[in-house]
Symmetry: C2
Subunit: 305 residues, 2 copies
């Protein structure tokens, strides 16, 4: 399965320094999931030649404008393009009324169904499941109701080792092996032992999105061991007091969470406008967690198998 993350915006609060507000597009095989949707996200999608109609699901972390003001415009554009397929939106409950009022004011009856699923649970919860992946949401500490998202591949099949495959093995026997079981004879003895004919399933890749949040060790158990953690890093260390006050994190704090959660890689973003060049944030993070990276608008990150 293709598992990639495209950064559509990574600035905090306002668009600045040619950086848009927060939005990310996940491509999971042939499915698009949009995470957050700051103002101008539809323009960012257009720049990347991505048709809005391909987005099936939208996850909105919280209702600060830099994370959702672009959603109503995106929905309107989908309508103008005569979208037919339903669009599922996961978001804090207040968003539904806001969208409804805006559609009413323009007397718009959408060409497609808007499935609104309010997020209002405690702890981590599975909110969406597809054949190949599952999405979970968990609370972040950000002053107002806010959720992080965990996207995990579903368990995979065992891989047939073609080098040792007997020519007379039946298709139904291959299916049994792929599902991780021995192939048995009628009397119950082993005909083909799983470990002799297969390689173990590839690991399930996973991505965690944590924006916006203050430093909060509660999330460590939710995101433990993920391949890639996107954690907001609004401020440098010297602004730790301001980070606390505004319910945001420093790059060092993001790195501490990454280290505690034993993730493979950390991706930083949601830079304060005061950092025209966010490189100092990277340096700070790397002193704690070497596998830290800056997110850049327009880049695509592949999670390889």
């Amino acid at each position: 399965m293709l598992f990639q993350i495209k950064i559509l915006g990574n600035n905090s609060a306002i668009p600045a320094h040619d950086r848009n507000q927060t939005a990310q597009l996940l491509q999971l095989d042939n499915q698009y999931v949009l995470i957050d949707c700051g103002e101008g996200t539809q323009i960012q999608l257009s720049r990347q030649n991505i048709k809005p109609g391909r987005i099936k699901t939208v996850l909105i972390s919280h209702l600060h404008g830099d994370h959702y003001f672009g959603l109503i415009g995106l929905i309107s554009t989908m309508h103008l393009f005569h979208r037919k397929n339903a669009l599922t939106i996961f978001a804090p409950p207040e968003l539904e009324k806001i969208l409804d009022l805006q559609l009413q004011a323009s007397e718009t009856r959408l060409s497609f169904e808007l499935k609104f699923i309010p997020l209002c649970h405690e702890g981590i919860k599975e909110i969406y499941k597809e054949e190949q992946f599952t999405i979970k949401a968990f609370p972040l500490e950000h002053g107002i109701k806010c959720y992080g998202f965990l996207i995990i591949e579903n368990p995979k099949q065992w891989r047939i080792n073609k080098d040792v495959l007997p020519e007379d093995m039946l298709i139904q026997e291959i299916v049994i092996l792929k599902n991780g079981k021995n192939v048995l004879t009628e009397d119950g003895s082993i005909k083909y032992a799983l470990e002799d004919y297969t390689l173990p399933p590839r690991p399930m890749r996973s991505y965690a999105y944590c924006s916006d949040t203050r430093y909060d060790e509660e999330i460590v158990s939710y995101i433990h061991g993920v391949d890639l953690l996107y954690h907001e890093a609004t401020f440098a260390d010297e602004m730790e007091g301001r980070a606390e006050l505004t319910h945001h994190s420093t790059a060092t704090q993001a790195a501490k969470i990454a280290k505690m959660a034993q993730v493979k890689k950390l991706l930083l973003g949601h830079y304060s406008t005061r950092y025209k060049d966010p490189t100092p944030l990277l340096h700070e993070a790397k002193t704690i967690f070497e596998e830290s990276y800056l997110s850049y608008e327009g880049e695509t990150i592949h999670l390889t198998e």
Copy 2:
């Protein structure tokens, strides 16, 4: 007085072909008035190096998203910049509730006062008056409630002809002449005749904004003789049926209105996305009204005295 119009966006419905959705910035001496505010308007302002804090008044013609989805983001940015001065918004009444809900959802208490003035009158009405200019609003025919705006300089003073000014003329006598009256002696006879010492006031410049609207001769009396008429021209002639259906105008129809209203110049905009190059719209308009011009994003039009 400086009287200029900056085009921040001129595409209809969606952003396309590097054209943003509708927004215009009027500079009237040292005052900024924003007319409509499509998504991304704050980015357009930033590109033009215009600080949002300088905008004192916002006019929203109607509640189709391409004319107002950028407003809440602009307001949020003003708040983040700790704006102190009140912002006055004229718009259809439903917008107030939409803005309120969005501010509530983010638990934002604005750093400045938002004065919301609902537009819901018939005919033409004065809605705003400053020392140097007056704004009037009048209904447009667009399916939902929609207003056009007329911005007119206030009557000007007579100009003192310095070439013939007697050295012993008193300041209070100059003031009388500037106000268009003869200076009289105590016995009521003329001491200084107005026409001998003055030049007539410069004409009052005026700008009319008509977007969005179907072809509607009702507006001709409201905009008669203006220096510049911005009239939407969403479609070319061949799409007249679609224009009628969607309550929009063709370039030819815009030119007919300009001709009937005897305006000095016509500015076309709100181009349909189907026109990557809107030049054919200009050609059509010019066959009816020679002084027709295309609006270009980023350009500034000066109304000279």
